[in-house]
């Protein structure tokens, strides 16, 4: 029974990692690619981690270490992606041509024109 749950969780993790990788490959520009990559970490790694903990039997030292890894993943990964995208945006990395929102340069130009 336990291994069944573990295998299921790992399968979920695997699926999201796979889809995240495809996302990174297919997405047109940097901003969407980082979004896909972040999803791989958050949704891909955590279920696998929980699955491994379930599979190995929740012995205290193992569980605490897994929780620590999970906590660090949840806090640091989004912050890292935020910093990455903000830096890209401020240095004017070009957006996808059909992007709806304003590129960094245009806001300044519009304010200059008005």
């Amino acid at each position: 029974m336990r291994t069944g749950i573990a295998v299921a969780l790992c399968a979920v993790g695997l699926f999201f990692s796979l889809s995240g990788t495809v996302g990174v490959w297919r997405m047109p520009d940097l901003y969407t690619r980082v979004q896909a990559a972040t999803k791989t970490i958050t949704l891909g790694a955590l279920p696998t981690l929980v699955g491994v903990v379930v599979a190995s039997g929740a012995s205290p030292p193992y569980l605490t270490r897994a929780m620590l890894v999970g906590f660090l993943l949840l806090t640091l990964n989004p912050a890292a992606s935020h910093a990455l995208v903000r830096a890209a945006y401020k240095t004017g990395t070009p957006q996808w041509r059909h992007a709806v929102s304003r590129g960094p340069g245009e806001v300044a130009q519009r304010r200059a024109e008005s």
Partner: protein, 405 residues
């Protein structure tokens, strides 16, 4: 058993792929990221091959220390290197075409080295051989001799203490070497012959700065030292639309809070490595983790906040005291136990805080020296100034900067 080989080969492919990327990528920053990729691959490989202590050190070195050093050095070089043509602003060296020397001779020589190494490695005993007697002695001796359950620490800080003594002063030589190479110009009392020889050489080598890059170097230097007055403390109030890269030092509130949350965990994790006599790795990986934490704080909070903690003058004294403590710990063995690096501290029962006798003292002083040394190295590289090369005509050499940054 085959699952081991699957993991092993995957990690090896990861490392080799990273190495090929480092060689092939033309963009320097991209090559630095490939080097970091290789470092991460090696960390996973070390965990798979059963070397957790080395993996501790390699993860910090591969992911944080090496990339920061390379990016800082590339940043420092970029402001100084002559741009090839002003119109495209394309750095000739940094991103331009990678000028390659005699390619085929190099391929031939590398292949020669490869065959030589493979010939050597096929002759070596493979992994089914019994451990050599020396290693078996280290394993069986770790408990009775040092009451520690960590034979690698017993070998590093106990049996082969003379090796680690040499490695420590290898690190001291490197740190003092970096301090000498990155020092700022110091007033000299009298005439030193080499200065006159230097003036002649500078005429024909330091050709006067033609392009705009030299005064750009001056401007970058000034921005780096005397903070531009109008730069905000944190970039949060800056309008998002401004295309220019941020002038603020610190990062946005999101990054700062994440670092504020993760920092205590990292510090506790690092100090755990050195807290007990039997913790894996001891002073070396703990020093590396300490460096990682300091760099994290530096990137998130900017240099001014870190400068209160990381003052070069204080750190140099701390590092020298660490080195003196190591010599003290090892030399005390001579009067007390009759030989240089003998274990003179009484052994506590195993798995308690003071088990391991001399190991604990040696690895704690090692932490002090490695941590302080690596921090000095990184911040010296950051604080390198442009005042040794030939100055511009106006030569306003702002010695007023806050001493050696």
């Amino acid at each position: 058993m085959t699952w081991f080989w699957v993991l092993d080969v995957v990690c090896l492919l990861w490392v080799v792929a990273g190495a090929v990327l480092v060689v092939w990528l033309r963009n320097l920053s991209g090559a630095v990221m490939a080097l970091s990729l290789t470092g991460m691959g090696m960390t996973m490989l070390f965990v798979v091959l059963g070397a957790p202590d080395v993996a501790h050190a390699e993860v910090v070195v591969g992911a944080i220390a090496l990339p920061v050093l390379y990016l800082v050095a590339i940043g420092k070089c970029r402001t100084v290197v002559e741009r090839d043509d002003e119109s495209t602003g394309e750095d000739r060296e940094l991103h331009g075409g990678e000028p390659v020397r005699r390619r085929w001779a190099a391929v031939l020589l590398s292949a020669g080295v490869f065959t030589g190494l493979v010939v050597a490695f096929t002759g070596l005993p493979d992994e089914t051989e019994e451990l050599p007697a020396v290693a078996r002695r280290a394993m069986t001796g770790a408990l009775p001799d040092f009451h520690t359950t960590e034979p690698v620490s017993a070998v590093v800080y106990g049996y082969r203490a003379m090796d680690t003594f040499g490695e420590t002063f290898l690190l001291l030589a490197a740190v003092v070497g970096v301090m000498v190479l990155t020092r700022t110009r110091e007033a000299r009392q009298g005439f030193v012959g080499e200065e006159r020889a230097a003036d002649e050489e500078q005429e024909d080598v330091d050709h006067p700065p033609r392009g705009s890059s030299s005064d750009e170097a001056r401007r970058a230097e000034r921005v780096e030292e005397g903070r531009a007055p109008e730069a905000p403390e944190t970039p949060d109030r800056e309008g998002l639309g401004a295309p220019a890269p941020e002038t603020a030092q610190a990062m946005s509130v999101v990054a700062r809070t994440a670092v504020r949350v993760a920092l205590p965990l990292l510090l506790v994790g690092g100090l755990y490595l050195v807290s007990q006599g039997y913790s894996p790795g001891g002073g070396f990986p703990a020093g590396a983790v300490l460096l990682g934490a300091v760099l994290l704080v530096h990137t998130a909070f900017g240099y001014d906040r870190v400068r209160a903690v990381v003052r070069p003058r204080v750190l140099e004294v701390v590092e020298m005291l660490g080195a003196a403590a190591i010599v003290g710990v090892l030399a005390a063995g001579l009067p007390l136990e009759g030989s240089f690096a003998a274990n003179w501290i009484p052994l506590a029962p195993e798995q308690t805080l003071r088990s391991g006798g001399m190991l604990q003292a040696f690895s704690v002083s090692e932490l002090v020296e490695v941590g302080a040394g690596l921090t000095i190295v990184v911040f010296s590289l950051l604080g390198m100034r442009h005042d040794w090369a030939e100055d511009d005509e106006d030569g306003e050499g702002d010695e007023s900067g806050e001493g050696d940054a």
